[in-house]
């Protein structure tokens, strides 16, 4: 991993300046079943394609933002500062599916 990632505040920077918190997940709204809980905590889609991720510009402006990255090529299609989903996360639209490989 040595690609450049455009921080919404600072512009393109070395990926080593950032921390990645992985795929954007949706926290269950109310007390989840055991299955829902483990799938929220431990299961990821792990797509070969475009996925939506959380990144933090740790060694820069410390901004958390979301990015759409193609996991096969590390092309970053877009980055943006996410609107807060609120205290109880509503259903967000899932990240776009991987194009057929």
């Amino acid at each position: 991993m040595s690609f450049l990632l455009p921080c919404p505040n600072c512009g393109p920077r070395d990926v080593n300046e950032f921390s990645c918190a992985g795929e954007v997940t949706v926290r269950p709204k109310t007390s989840p079943s055991f299955r829902e809980l483990t799938s929220y905590l431990y299961f990821r889609r792990n797509v070969a394609g475009v996925q939506r991720e959380w990144w933090c510009h740790r060694l820069g402006c410390a901004q958390w933002f979301q990015a759409e990255r193609d996991t096969r090529t590390n092309d970053v299609l877009a980055t943006w500062i996410a609107e807060p989903a609120g205290v109880v996360a509503p259903e967000t639209t899932p990240a776009p599916d991987a194009p057929a490989v």
Binding site: S2, D14, R27, P28, S31, F34, A62, G86
Partner: protein, 863 residues
């Protein structure tokens, strides 16, 4: 013996430099390389080969082949042909038993052949299995490269530097310089790297170094001796040129068989006569320029064969004592001591291939060309195939059976026979054969063996080079010292504002994360005792410190932590354990409510950064109205603890410190020693204590004042180690020491911290699951029965099996006992239960304790 000064000579003949080779002095001129000086001194054998210990001499003279690897000042595998001479250098041969001239292991060349075919180590020497370590040690000592001196003093410091350029040009030859000038003229910042002589020119910067690879995002590491530049360039121009390829024929590794560049450099740069009588055989018309050069140097050129025009079916070089003596061309023998043999030039595409270019075979010229150059990368000059018009010397890469060894790979001593055998054994893919025969895996990284091996493959498989294809090109393009790759990154060391006082007081410093902290001031047990008996002071500036402010501050903390903070009165403090949504403990600290909308949060010394990030992340989702400010560096903090703590603190502030006015777990703002401070009455170390937080610049002032004012009270500074003893007496956990990434608050015996009646908090659901499934282990304290201190990380033995582990253990003078904490199965987590610990192989007994060893009722803290 030098020739008259040549036009492009690089020597400074006015001065001399002396170094030693195998203990004997060798003279050289500034401008020489170690290799050229040795050649001038008459040395022809430069190394012994990897497997057969055959004599090898200068071949490429440009730092690409393995033939001149020597130990220089204890550093193994230095290419002496390009290593500049330096006064007093100690140069030694490597991979030799005996001497370069008489290597005892040369018997493997004569007799080892039938017993050591390709991949022999996969088939022989595997039984009995037990004996492999012996075999391995033997093989490692007789084969391979020089040994690493394990006791060597560190002579060099390596550094890493990040650089940026608009355009990075790899290769400073003619086309590289042209490209650099073109880009510089367009107003771009250009850097040229060249492994040999960086060009001097206006308008761009040039660096002597080796580009090791092209990584994702045009990241190019450049080996510049003691510095590794991590270049990030918008555009990379590859002007790496072309690589002269050897011909395959029996005896092609004899000393005196060279690529055209070797005589070129010997004559032009160092004014040396390459040989007495030469034969030139070349598949590359351009290489025929050496003929003129050789004549100029006084070497008799006995025969010139242009393989593009003349077909030669069989070339066999014959030697004596490893040095070429004659060459026979289709049976016609010509005496010579120098055989310039070139199989044409191959564009150096490896870097481009790493960058993502495809490599395609051009049958008309017999070379592989980089195509589909990725965006942001450009290729110019010979690397793109420009100016290369090689004929394919088809007849000459077949070898000649039974007339001596014909080497495909001189790095690893792989012969044509080995390759044929690998094919016969079924290794028909070039990638598999590479791994089996190790062709291209030696120090030259395929520069001299890749193309010949592909040609041989194509021929043996009765197909063409295009269908054989190439193997994957990977970094590093040139061998690189491990030290350089492990060079110092920019790792900050953090020091508190009281650091220099600690040093003056004789503190032994230690690392905690990136912080430097006093381990102790020389007497950990005495320092701990002084806290119990009189008064101690410790620098706790390293604690993470955050201000959480805003209308939603209370709600925010309640959502993040299992504990409750909304019902706290301003000026009160609560212990807090931060967890993840999986219920795991991340960090701990205290939270003081300063007023309705402001909280002061402390974290562990190493956790501040992660906690801030964690806070910000959750709020990026929640969008609560809070501000999170990391004030870790802005504030210093000291903890004054011991029976006299109130007396001392009273001397520094006007605040009413009576137990009624300022009770345990109160937080108050006041001036301490004239400095605006926040005083937290907490007790990590178990005695009456005040943690004073104040602006960092006053660190030394406050520290000095405490030591002065507390002199008659017996104040002494204490370090981290005594603090660890003291906190263990109180059974206060250390995150990361007593907990790990799997621990949760319930099993860590802090169920009181989890407020189940809260609607939701991070980790609630997972903790519910832990509650439901039952505990698997539990964190408890223990007291040893006989005073032995068990090792941290040691085993708790349950029914003769490992059933838990010791996380902390210390001898406590205060208690006169060895105490500790351990994870044990839940059925043993009861006060007084006997547990068995393994100490130095034997079993020692301990009693479980669930309440603090020292002052279990907290009377000292509340006094």
């Amino acid at each position: 013996m030098r020739l008259d000064p040549q036009r492009d000579e690089r020597l400074d003949r006015s001065r001399r430099i002396t170094f030693t080779f195998e203990g004997k002095p060798v003279e050289a001129f500034p401008g020489d390389t170690l290799g050229s000086a040795l050649f001038a001194a008459g040395q022809r054998v430069f190394s012994r080969s990897f497997k057969y210990h055959r004599p090898r001499g200068l071949l490429c003279c440009r730092g690409q082949c393995p033939n001149c690897l020597m130990r220089v000042d204890g550093v193994p595998s230095v290419r002496v042909c390009t290593e500049p001479v330096r006064e007093g250098a100690r140069v030694e041969a490597q991979n030799v038993w005996g001497s370069l001239q008489r290597d005892l292991l040369a018997v493997t060349d004569k007799f080892g052949g039938p017993f050591t075919p390709v991949g022999f180590y996969y088939r022989t020497m595997i039984r009995p299995r037990r004996a492999w370590p012996l075999y391995e040690r033997f093989l490692r000592s007789v084969a391979g490269l020089g040994p690493v001196d394990k006791h060597a003093e560190r002579s060099t410091r390596f550094d890493t530097e990040h650089r940026h350029a608009d355009v990075l040009v790899i290769g400073g030859g003619r086309s590289g310089v042209q490209a650099a000038e073109r880009h510089a003229a367009a107003g771009r910042r250009v850097v040229v790297v060249d492994m040999d002589e960086p060009p001097s020119a206006e308008g761009f910067e040039s660096i002597r170094g080796v580009a090791l690879g092209i990584y994702e995002g045009n990241l190019v590491p450049v080996d510049a001796g003691n510095v590794l530049y991590r270049f990030r360039a918008e555009q990379v121009v590859v002007a790496a040129g072309a690589l002269e390829q050897p011909l395959l024929f029996p005896g092609n590794d004899l000393v005196g068989v060279v690529l055209p560049e070797a005589p070129r450099r010997l004559v032009e740069r160092w004014s040396l006569k390459p040989g007495e009588r030469a034969v030139v055989v070349s598949g590359d018309t351009q290489a025929l320029d050496v003929v003129r050069l050789l004549e100029r140097a006084g070497t008799e050129v006995a025969e010139v064969v242009d393989l593009g025009e003349t077909r030669v079916r069989e070339i066999v070089a014959r030697g004596r004592r490893g040095r070429v003596e004659a060459v026979s061309l289709d049976g016609r023998e010509i005496a010579c001591d120098l055989l310039v043999a070139s199989g044409g030039r191959q564009p150096a595409y490896a870097l481009l291939s790493q960058a993502g270019a495809r490599v395609e075979y051009d049958p008309s010229r017999g070379i592989f060309l980089p195509v589909e150059i990725p965006e942001g990368v450009e290729v110019v000059g010979a690397a793109a195939g420009e100016g290369i018009s090689s004929a394919i010397p088809a007849a000459t890469y077949n070898g000649a059976a039974g007339k001596g060894k014909c080497f495909v790979c001189i790095c690893e001593d792989v012969t044509d026979k080995d390759v044929k055998r690998a094919i016969a054994e079924g290794f028909d893919s070039i990638e598999l054969a590479k791994r089996y025969t190790t062709v291209t895996m030696g120090p030259c990284q395929g520069k001299l063996c890749h193309l010949p091996s592909i040609r041989l493959y194509a021929r043996e498989n009765e197909t063409d080079e295009a269908s054989i294809g190439t193997t994957t090109a990977r970094p590093p393009w040139q061998p690189v010292s491990l030290g350089l790759l492990a060079g110092r990154p920019h790792e900050p060391a953090q020091r508190t504002s009281i650091h220099h006082r600690h040093k003056e007081l004789g503190a032994r410093m230690m690392w905690t994360g990136t912080w430097r902290r006093p381990h102790s001031y020389g007497d950990p047990a005495g320092e701990a005792k002084n806290v119990h008996d009189a008064l101690g002071v410790i620098d706790v500036s390293t604690l993470g410190k955050l201000l959480v402010t805003g209308p939603d501050a209370a709600a925010f903390l309640e959502r993040l932590y299992p504990n409750r903070f909304g019902d706290m009165k301003a000026g009160r403090i609560r212990y807090a354990v931060l967890g993840t949504d999986a219920g795991r403990i991340m960090d701990d600290g205290t939270i003081a409510r300063l007023d309705e909308e402001e909280y002061y949060v402390t974290t562990t010394s190493t956790g501040a950064g992660a906690v801030v990030e964690w806070f910000e992340w959750w709020n990026a989702v929640w969008g609560l109205d809070v501000e999170i400010a990391n004030v870790t560096g802005a504030l210093a903090a000291v903890n004054v603890a011991g029976p006299h703590a109130r007396e001392l603190t009273g001397r520094l502030t006007d605040l009413d410190l009576s137990n009624e006015a300022f009770t345990y777990l109160d937080a108050k703002e006041a001036h301490v020693a004239g400095v605006p401070s926040l005083i937290l009455r907490i007790g990590f170390v178990g005695e009456l204590g005040y943690e004073i937080h104040f602006p960092s610049p006053y660190g030394e002032h406050v520290w000095n004042t405490i030591l002065e004012q507390g002199q008659d009270l017996g104040v002494r500074p204490f370090g981290l180690e005594p603090q660890r003893i003291l906190r263990l007496e109180k059974m206060h956990i250390l995150i990361g020491q007593d907990t790990d990434s799997e621990s949760n608050a319930l099993e860590a015996s802090m169920p009181w911290i989890v407020k189940w009646d809260k609607d939701d908090f991070v980790g609630k659901w997972s903790l519910e699951q832990v509650q439901e499934r039952g505990f698997r282990e539990q964190l408890v304290g223990f007291e040893m029965q006989n005073g032995v201190v068990p090792p941290e990380g040691g085993q708790v033995v349950v029914d003769g099996r490992p059933g838990g582990r010791v996380t902390s253990s210390r001898w406590s003078d205060q208690l006169g006992k060895a105490i500790g904490m351990a994870w044990v199965p839940p059925q043993l987590a009861e006060d007084g239960v006997e547990i068995a610990l393994k100490v130095n192989g034997s079993i020692e007994r301990a009693h479980v304790r669930l309440r603090p060893f020292f002052d279990p009722e907290g009377e000292h803290l509340r006094s």
